[in-house]
């Protein structure tokens, strides 16, 4: 195994919000970089390499890290760009981990961002399937009724997520009220996180249930906002962490992995064989990551989770697929209060992705929030008060097919 690697700092550009017409992409990134540096004694010259990423079709700038390199101090330094859709942020962070674990670099900064007010997110998302959609027109789809194409595409603007949600509810024998309930919890958690976008203190199930249904069982209240924001994290080797005198307030990377299956619910031109609600790839990857982290029973050994949920039913589904609850048990755990910040296994104390979604940043925010929880530095009342030994962070992307998982902990794995 590689060298031990620690996250020593997590920086944000500020609160995630819908629109930042006052600044451009480099100006969005720079404050996050400065914020991460300011929480340490490090200066830009101490950073050996940068790993960066966003989803550049959302803003219409190809490889914007070239343009932004001066603003994140990357000029004159090694810079690598990673992009994997929704998992981009976590994939960037994982690449930063390998930069250090390989022994090639000692201090590496990972940066993820999205400035969604500069583009049309729907165009960006449609861009995933557009070539497939174009090709369908060559095979004579039904264009006479509005159901023809919609029937093939499915679920309107929620896309395949509505299928996944329905499938999940059937498996868990749960109802839409459970999705409402978890959505409300996330929005009220977000109110305790000064960086979160949609903050609704005391948000209730009824508040969410009052929003219109888009495609049953998903409502507006179950979907994520489009946010502008950036996150930067600093990763260092064990030797450097010791040298900097930073071994108390750090989060050690204990296990990590990324996996892929095939394009699901949306693979219109070739039969899709993967069940999007079963998430076999998530289970496979979780097993691998836990084994690397020395975690035998995730339910006992992990004290907090940050999962990537673009739609609220996923706040129920992912913890199960990550092995934190038995399959179908998440709604019951939610009702028992296990999910809450003061619960037995808090899920998304940050408010999660349904409260804040700057796509290229989101999967790294999960890792960053998990790190802050381990370090005990989560601000504004969303710090979990129970003792945290290990935290798990998760991301998903593509057409429900990519997954990234990381376990962070208070003590490094013994080599």
């Amino acid at each position: 195994m590689g060298r031990n690697v620690a996250i020593i700092s997590v920086g944000y550009n500020g609160r995630f919000i819908s629109k930042r017409p006052d600044i451009n992409i480099p100006e969005l990134i720079q404050p996050a970089v400065n914020n991460a540096l300011s929480k340490t004694k490090l200066k830009p010259e101490h950073i050996d390499a940068y790993v960066v990423g966003n989803m550049h079709t959302f803003e219409g700038v190809n490889q914007p890290h070239l343009w932004a390199s001066d603003h994140f101090n990357g000029s004159g330094k090694p810079v690598m760009r990673i992009a994997t859709g929704g998992t981009t942020g976590a994939s960037v962070y994982q690449a930063a981990y390998y930069h250090v674990a390989s022994g090639m670099y000692d201090v590496v900064m990972a940066i993820g961002w999205e400035k969604q007010d500069e583009g049309d997110s729907q165009v960006g998302l449609m861009g995933i399937l557009l070539p497939e959609a174009f090709s369908l027109f060559h095979f004579g789809p039904d264009t006479t009724s509005d159901r023809g194409i919609a029937g093939l595409g499915g679920g309107g603007s929620t896309g395949g997520a509505a299928f996944q949600a329905m499938s999940y509810l059937t498996r868990a024998n749960a109802g839409i009220e459970h999705i409402d309930r978890v959505a409300a919890l996330m929005r009220s958690n977000a109110a305790k996180n000064p960086y979160a976008h949609l903050q609704q203190p005391g948000c209730t199930e009824a508040d969410i249930a009052g929003t219109p249904i888009i495609s049953y069982p998903l409502r507006f209240g179950h979907t994520c906002p489009t946010s502008c924001g950036a996150i930067a994290m600093i990763l260092v080797s064990e030797e450097k962490a010791k040298k900097f005198g930073l071994t108390d307030r750090v989060a050690w990377v204990k296990g990590l992995g990324s996996g892929t299956s095939d394009a699901t619910t949306g693979n219109l031109i070739e039969g899709q064989i993967t069940d999007p609600a079963e998430q076999q790839i998530c289970k496979i990857t979780a097993k691998k990551v836990y084994s690397m982290a020395g975690i035998k029973d995730p339910r006992k050994d992990i004290q907090v989770a940050e999962v990537y949920s673009g739609f609220s039913h996923q706040d129920l589904m992912w913890p199960e697929r990550l092995g934190l609850f038995d399959e179908g048990m998440a709604p019951k755990m939610l009702d028992k209060g296990v999910y809450a910040i003061d619960g037995e296994l808090p899920i998304n104390p940050s408010g999660g992705v349904t409260s804040t979604n700057a796509i290229g940043a989101s999967a790294m925010v999960r890792v960053g929030e998990a790190a802050l929880q381990v370090m005990g530095l989560a601000e504004g009342g969303h710090q979990v008060q129970r003792k945290i030994e290990n935290a798990v962070a998760h991301g998903w992307g593509g057409l429900f097919q990519f997954v990234t998982i990381t376990v962070l902990g208070k003590t490094p794995v013994k080599k």
């Binding site: 219409g60 029937g151 929620t158 329905m166 219109p212 064989i273």
Partner: protein, 149 residues
């Protein structure tokens, strides 16, 4: 916004691309539809049946040359009820999009579900069958919908 900041209009022009797409799977599929058959491909190694059937197996990374006709009945898998348009305006006639696993296949087929009166009574696992248009012409539109049995 400050005086120094201006918004600049720009585009990402997807029409500037000429995509080449593999047509094998859909070619076979629509050919079958013309004869009111559902055709797919089966991997000789692992036995996975894909509909529409690509010419390679995702699990085994081998070519698939075996064309199979599959059952026109199957199991309702996931579904969603479209109650509003993209702007949130309620639609007059809600409809159900669904994925169906036809008997003997391993992949999900997408389409519109008919044969229900109250969408609340529709459940995953119900039996469905393929309904073709009366006159088929070798197009995706030939598969009209899935009907609850």
């Amino acid at each position: 916004m400050t005086e120094e900041t201006r918004i600049i209009e720009s585009t990402w022009d997807l029409t500037a691309y000429q995509f080449k797409i593999e047509a094998d799977a859909l070619n076979l599929f629509v050919k079958g539809l013309k004869d009111k058959k559902i055709l797919g491909r089966k991997c000789r190694v692992c036995g996975t049946v894909y509909v529409p059937g690509p010419t390679y197996c995702r699990k085994c990374l081998v070519d698939i040359d075996q064309v199979v006709e599959v059952s026109q009945e199957g199991r309702l898998d996931a579904f969603t009820v479209s109650l509003a348009d993209v702007r949130g305006k309620p639609v007059e006639n809600p409809f159900i999009s669904c994925t169906v696993k036809l008997d003997g296949t391993d992949s999900f087929l997408m389409g519109v579900l008919e044969g229900w009166t109250d969408w609340r009574s529709v459940k995953e696992g119900m039996r469905v069958k393929v309904v073709f248009k009366d006159v088929t012409q070798g197009a995706l539109a030939d598969l009209s919908h899935f009907q609850l049995i």
